[in-house]
């Protein structure tokens, strides 16, 4: 490098300054609208702020981990409410994330098939619920799942007596346990994690929550279908053709070729799904407000309710941070399980090379055998 050192350093400094100038607006905006509110929320979560004036005013005291202890300790109404919220949301996540991932992948594969006519129509139809406001969909759902609504009318036509969907607090697993003769007695009735008895933990989602689960799958499958379509198109035809030449059936092509190559997208979809489902709020706030019997209370809704309705702002902020912790933990866990995206990308490269090598080897074998035959 022939350049004199001093000039290089000077220009680098000027460049650095210019760089900071260019990013300054973003830093200021992020600082004012994200960093500062987050820091204030951290403070509120360890204070006894009553919602009167500034949380930084002199009358507000530091209370340590009291708010966190109240929600995580499992004692009293506060602890039990949080435990119920975690249970409800856990089942919501357990049902929604796998189902929406599988269904969106299925829809994506179906609408990218060459044989399908009117692809545009189907893609639009499946994507439509995603671009509709969640408020509108929730209201629609309330009508559909009314006691005398369309769903129950349809069930009645099939001689099934539909439940009173949004007013039925019974857990779907709980009904099964009851049929098997179990009840809330003995060890099952003892308060367990977060002050919630084992019997309550194993109730599963309530019938009302099932309606919300169906709604979440209905609305988000379209969004994730779009991600899968993009990924499927990126795979390209030649891979598929190579597999066909190898004699793979449609299922084998999907299972051993397409699905592994979609791994980074599956990772993205599951991560986004986990984050979205743990934060479920608007459907609950509009649809049920936590009813029936608190079986649709979620941590996000509980946080809002603690702050704005019960005026326990510190507790509300503390719930928000616990929820944040849960989401981070879940994301790390599933990253660990699915393996990280970089590793997947490199294996994809290897697979392509492998496929190419096998292809060449086979050509060579075929050439040899034809020569042998000659």
């Amino acid at each position: 490098m022939a350049q004199p050192t001093s000039t290089r350093r000077g220009s680098a400094n000027r460049q650095g300054l210019a760089g900071w100038l260019f990013v300054a607006p973003v830093i200021v905006i992020l600082g004012v609208f994200m960093l500062v509110p987050i820091l204030m929320a951290v403070w509120v979560s360890v204070s006894d702020w009553s919602g009167n004036g500034s949380p930084l005013a002199s009358g507000v005291n530091f209370v340590g981990a009291k708010n966190y202890e109240a929600i995580l300790g499992g004692r009293g109404l506060t602890g039990q409410n949080f435990g119920l919220a975690i249970r409800n949301n856990l089942y919501y996540v357990l049902f929604v994330v796998p189902l929406q991932t599988i269904i969106s992948l299925f829809l994506a594969v179906m609408v990218t098939r060459k044989a399908l006519k009117a692809k545009g129509f189907f893609r639009t139809a499946f994507y439509f619920p995603s671009v509709t406001s969640s408020v509108a969909i929730t209201v629609l759902w309330l009508f559909l799942f009314n006691t005398s609504g369309v769903i129950n009318k349809a069930l009645a036509a099939a001689s099934i007596k539909g439940p009173n969907w949004f007013n039925e607090p019974a857990g779907v697993l709980g009904m099964l346990w009851t049929k098997l003769g179990m009840s809330e007695t003995g060890a099952l009735a003892q308060p367990g994690l977060f002050g919630i008895s084992t019997w309550q933990w194993i109730q599963g989602p309530s019938v009302a929550m099932v309606a919300f689960i169906l709604m979440a799958i209905f609305t988000t499958s379209g969004t994730f279908m779009l991600l899968f379509i993009a990924a499927l198109q990126a795979i390209g035809d030649e891979t598929e053709e190579a597999a066909m030449i190898d004699g793979a059936t449609a299922w084998q092509r999907f299972r051993y070729v397409t699905a592994p190559m979609l791994r980074p997208t599956i990772y993205t979809v599951v991560t986004l799904g986990l984050i979205g489902t743990w934060q479920v709020f608007d459907q609950i706030a509009i649809g049920s407000k936590g009813d029936p019997a608190k079986t649709t209370v979620t941590p996000a809704f509980l946080s809002y309710q603690s702050a704005f309705v019960d005026l326990a702002w510190g507790r509300g902020a503390a719930i928000a941070f616990v929820l944040f912790g849960i989401i981070v933990a879940m994301s790390i866990l599933q990253r660990f399980i699915l393996g990280n995206a970089d590793a997947t990308a490199s294996t994809r490269q290897e697979r392509k090379l492998d496929a190419a090598a096998r292809h060449l080897a086979r050509e060579k074998r075929e050439a040899e055998s034809s020569r042998g035959a000659a």
């Binding site: 900071w20 830093i27 200021v28 600082g31 004012v32 960093l35 500062v36 820091l39 204030m40 009553s50 919602g51 009167n52 004036g53 500034s54 930084l56 005013a57 002199s58 009293g76 109404l77 506060t78 409410n81 009314n146 006691t147 005398s148 009173n164 007013n167 607090p169 936590g290 009813d291 029936p292 019997a293 608190k294 702050a307 704005f308 309705v309 019960d310 005026l311 702002w313």
Partner: protein, 412 residues
């Protein structure tokens, strides 16, 4: 991606701490500005209300405009879409509305120091019903003038009543009679009695049984024998199939189940008159006082006019509240949207104007209100979440849990 440099981290840290300080100082300057109680300034008064509909909004706007013209102080009425949330936001931001409807969060606001205590300046103080004064007193002081009130009564579908061969002489005055008429009124698609499955309706039965969630000294008595009797009675009616809660009937509230002719009687408040004349015009109805258990009992509900401690014109705000709670104005509100005046001197005129609401006005004499101390709302919500399942639940277990929670809330 490059790693963030130390300078960058320092810049972000500096920036955030600066803005935190800026936020803090911005807030505190408004906090330290003590409300001036001396001379009435002419600074604008904002009134934040949660309206039941067009009629209420128009009536309040007209009244506030009349005061504004009289006093020369500009005033504006804002209708909240979510009153509790908007009030909370106002308090937190340090610039709340000057006057607002305050309901069951009254004590929590008062405890946080959000409400201006204007008891000394209330012109109608001696005229308010004692049960309302008690409901809106914090630490023995009435800090929030009762706006109006409503009580629960038994509302009867007169057509079904006649069809079942019942007359005015059959109007139930005891629980036994209530059960008997409910049985007679239960036919194919109609249940005899309905109510919202919440303590704000079933609490009336507790009051009739001589109970209540708290006793006169303010101690928790949720699992008293009287309360157990009350819920057991409701459970009995539900088990016999002569009563069903409004949720089981697929209705949003008792009035809807009644208006849709799913039930022949409902335990509801006088606000049902608005729904009946607007949404269920063809349904003949009549309100009567609730039947007595051990004694007569019902629940009273009310809102009050809260004046914000941080109002810039508390003198003007108090003057407006006094104007709004005066007899003429309360009677005008009663005429416009069916609420009962909170002052006793307006009762006779109101009864003459609204003969069908007389039983509800009479209820004020023996009504009790639900506890509204800080923290009790969460307890009542929890209790309400269990009442829809009353038919298959153990009333004592429900009330025992409520007792534990209520006791903790009242002591905390």
């Amino acid at each position: 991606m490059n790693r963030p440099t130390k300078a960058g981290i320092a810049a972000v840290a500096l920036l955030s701490s600066l803005s935190l300080v800026a936020c803090g100082s911005g807030f505190t300057s408004t906090t330290s500005a003590a409300p001036s109680t001396a001379a009435a300034t002419k600074s604008k008064i904002t009134v934040l209300i949660g309206s039941s509909g067009e009629a209420e909004t128009t009536a309040v706007k007209t009244a506030v405009a009349a005061w504004s013209t009289k006093s020369g102080t500009p005033a504006e009425v804002q209708v909240a879409s979510d009153l509790g949330q908007q009030i909370a936001q106002g308090f937190a931001s340090g610039s709340p509305a000057d006057i607002m409807y305050v309901g069951d969060q009254f004590a929590a606001y008062a405890k946080a120091g959000n409400l201006y205590d204007y008891s000394a300046q209330m012109t109608n103080k001696a005229d308010f019903y004692p049960s309302l004064v008690q409901a809106f007193s914090y630490k023995g002081q009435l800090v929030c003038a009762p706006k109006d009130f409503s009580t629960l009564g038994l509302v009867i579908n007169t057509d079904m009543w006649k069809a079942a061969g019942l007359t005015d002489a059959d109007i139930p005055t005891t629980w036994l009679q209530l059960e008997a008429v409910a049985k007679k009124l239960t036919t194919g698609g109609v249940v005899g009695l309905t109510y919202g499955p919440e303590i704000a309706r079933l609490g009336a039965l507790m009051a009739e049984a001589g109970g209540g969630l708290v006793d006169a000294s303010g101690a928790a008595t949720a699992n008293s024998q009287a309360n157990i009797d009350a819920l057991t009675f409701a459970k009995k009616l539900e088990t016999e199939g002569v009563a069903k809660n409004s949720k089981d009937l697929g209705a949003g509230w008792g009035g809807e189940a009644f208006g849709k002719k799913l039930a022949a009687m409902v335990i509801e408040g006088n606000w049902i008159s608005g729904a009946m004349s607007k949404d269920y015009v063809g349904v003949g109805w009549k309100g009567v006082e609730l039947p007595a258990g051990k004694a007569k009992g019902t629940l009273v509900f009310s809102n009050c006019w809260g004046v914000a401690a941080k109002s810039k014109n508390t003198a003007g705000a108090v003057d407006l509240v006094n104007f709004l709670t005066a007899k003429d104005q309360q009677l005008a509100f009663g005429k416009a949207f069916g609420v009962i005046p909170s002052i006793q001197s307006a009762a006779d005129q109101f009864k003459t104007d609204n003969p069908n609401l007389v039983p509800f006005v009479n209820g004020a004499a023996y009504a009790q209100s639900l506890p509204a101390q800080p923290g009790t709302k969460a307890v009542i919500d929890d209790l309400n979440s269990k009442l829809p399942g009353l038919k298959t639940a153990d009333p004592k277990a429900i009330l025992d849990a409520a007792q534990t929670n209520l006791d903790a809330a009242l002591k905390g």
